[in-house]
Amino acid sequence: MSQIFHRSTNTLSRATIFGAVFVLAALTWVAMEIQRSPYVTYAGVRKTQPVPFSHQHHVTGLGIDCRYCHTSVETSSFAGIPPTKTCMNCHSQIWTNANLLEPVRASYRSGESLQWTRVNQLPDFVYFNHSIHINKGVGCNTCHGPVDLMPLMYQQESLQMEWCLGCHRAPQNHLRPRDQVFNMRYQPPSGSTPVVVDGQSYTDQVNLGTALIQKYKVRSVKDITTCSTCHR
């Protein structure tokens, strides 16, 4: 009886078994990476807006505070999207004929809101409250990134649950004094630039964060990582 398989089959079969392990491992790794990539999370993706509003120009260039437009951020779950009237406070005086701003003027005339494209979007099954984060010393740019340098708004972080938990499991690594929350150029404490809270000078973020947890009565890690804290 002749041989069914060529003798190279021996090598081939060994290579397939050996290779299968690596192929499966590689596929798993690729799947994990894709799941965390901007392809899925949209982190860093600039979205088209009805008016190409530049945070860079308004914040860094003109020095407008976050709360001038996002009025309810300290007291409400939702930071607030400004009404067209807020834009027109200035733009009824300056750039009154700019073509770029025509949608704003049209909105003002008709009373129809501008339809901005939402950038930082959490799923509906997550209960998120801006005010509690602001009041416990989480800076705007801790989550939103350098908005003051963004010509067009994009989402800085993945907004995936592991990212939320990164802070909820170790809040001392991220907290800052409450009066620095809206400071977009805040520097965490270091040996050369200490941060002073209540007369005490801190040169280390963990020491500062631990003190702020005490001062702002941030609830325990166990409490803020319970499922029902965010999934109510």
Binding site: I4, F5, T9, S13, M32, S158, M161, E162, W163, L165
Partner: protein, 457 residues
């Protein structure tokens, strides 16, 4: 092995293989079912019916995915209905295969050689049927992979303290080891089929499956070692899998579940129903394919004895449950007992006692132990009884909550029944295919039972 063969004949028991066979006739008889015998009309009809039932299962699952769990009868307080009942039933049935293939191998019970192959196949198909239920009973089945621990973007792991989590590991380990063990056992037989087949395509397929098996002494040496090691791995699984399944219940505080007798009693029940299924399959197979020489009266008797023994352990479990209901002085436990005997599900409970305890006692009679027809029907009764047992445990324990305001009843819908009957169809369809594609009896292990195999010193 042959020594046992001799000693058994000396004891005037039925032999494990009828006299007069040689290596050639054994090989020919078993491989002919796969290679030369044409599929009969009966096979096509049987497989056709089972295939249609499998399609019904797919339809029921498809509709479930479309509409959600609401199409089933589960509701508060009975949040676990047919899905869990059927899961436990199927997993239990699988246990006989592992017991036969692993524990009986280690104990050198040579009679196992003629039934281990299809008992292992039965295990695999039963585990596959069982595995469907936990996957589809979660509200969003497309997320069932969340059961497995993997570095997810949620940054959390499954709850390792939950018995449901242990279940995932127990069942997936069980499925893996069973599949490996089954495949390992098939390798020398694949080689036999490769060598005996005259169609080039079949020779290539069986050749690939046999991994280049040539039957050299070194092959056999390594093979036996690996087979024993796998048997050693599989042995604890016979006990651990259904123990973990019983923890799903025993760890909960529901009266009727919260009891330490559950692990041993579940394992015994699993082997009980598993052997019943082995007999229900073996009896028609040996008849139709003329394998009475290989699956002899001895096998039927031994299986009947295992059923009798495990059935008595199960009966002891029922007795202790009843006894503890009274002895504990706990009013909820006492009520559970009373409710089983007199409540709205009293009829299934009495049927369970009749099917699992009273009817199988006829197996004490030797004449019934050796009668294939009687054994076939008794096995059927036991399978019904063991299904009812899981129904009683799941539904009756849940339907009377601690608060009378939360009492309820469970009414399975047509979708529950379609899913359940569909898995039976899928299981049998797989068995039908198995009979035609693979040697249903281990050829090489049967050959070791022959006098020819005796090593002369």
């Amino acid at each position: 092995m042959s020594e046992q063969y001799k000693s058994s004949t000396e004891l005037e028991r039925a032999p494990v293989i009828e006299p007069g066979h040689t290596f050639g006739t054994v090989t020919e008889k078993i491989s002919a079912i796969v290679l030369t015998r044409p599929a009969s009309n009966g096979w096509f009809i049987g497989f056709g019916i089972c295939f249609m039932l499998t399609m019904m299962l797919l339809f029921a699952i498809g509709y479930l995915f479309l509409k959600g769990i609401g199409i089933w009868g589960v509701t508060i307080p009975i949040g676990w209905g047919f899905a869990i009942v059927n899961f436990v039933w199927w997993i239990g049935i699988g246990h006989a295969g592992t017991l036969i293939s692993a524990i009986l191998l280690l104990l050198r019970q040579s009679w196992r050689n003629s039934i281990n192959r299809f008992a292992e196949a039965m295990t695999l198909f039963a585990v596959a049927s069982a595995g469907i239920f936990p996957a589809i009973h979660v509200g969003r089945p497309w997320l069932a992979y969340w059961l497995f621990p993997y570095p997810s973007t949620m940054g959390v792991w499954p709850q390792f303290r939950s018995p449901l989590m242990w279940d995932v590991f127990a069942v997936s380990t069980y499925a893996t080891i069973s599949a490996l063990f089954w495949f390992m056992g098939l390798i020398p037989d694949f080689a036999t089929l490769r060598d005996r087949s005259d169609k080039p395509a079949l020779r290539i397929i069986y050749g690939m499956l046999s991994f280049g098996w040539r039957g050299s002494a070194r092959h056999w040496h390594r093979y036996e070692t690996a087979y024993l090691l796998l048997a050693g791995l599989a042995t604890p699984l016979v006990l651990s899998v259904h123990t973990v399944v019983s923890f799903d219940f025993a760890v909960g505080i529901v009266p009727g579940w919260h009891t330490t007798i559950f692990p041993p009693y579940f394992v015994a029940g699993a082997i009980y129903s598993g052997f019943a299924m082995v007999l229900m399959l073996a009896i028609p197979i040996r008849k139709i394919y003329g394998l009475e020489d290989f699956i002899t009266e001895r096998h039927l008797q031994n299986s009947a004895k295992v059923m009798l023994a495990t059935g008595l352990i199960v009966a002891y479990g029922y007795f202790i449950e009843g006894f503890m209901g009274w002895y504990s002085g706990d009013r909820y436990d006492a009520f559970t007992l009373w409710n089983r005997l007199h409540g709205p599900y009293a009829v299934p409970y009495w049927m369970l006692l009749i099917c699992n305890i009273f009817i199988p006692q006829v197996l004490w009679i030797r004449r019934l132990r050796t009668s294939p027809i009687a054994l076939f029907f008794i096995s059927g009764v036991i399978l019904v009884g063991m299904w009812l047992e899981r129904f009683i445990i799941v539904v009756v324990s849940l339907h009377r909550d601690f608060l009378t305001s939360s009492w309820g009843m469970y009414y399975p819908t047509r979708w529950d029944w379609m899913t359940y009957i569909g898995t039976i169809g899928m299981f049998l369809a797989a068995m039908f295919l198995f009979l035609r594609i693979l040697p249903a009896i281990s050829i090489f292990e049967m050959r070791t039972l022959l006098p020819e195999a005796e090593v002369k010193e």
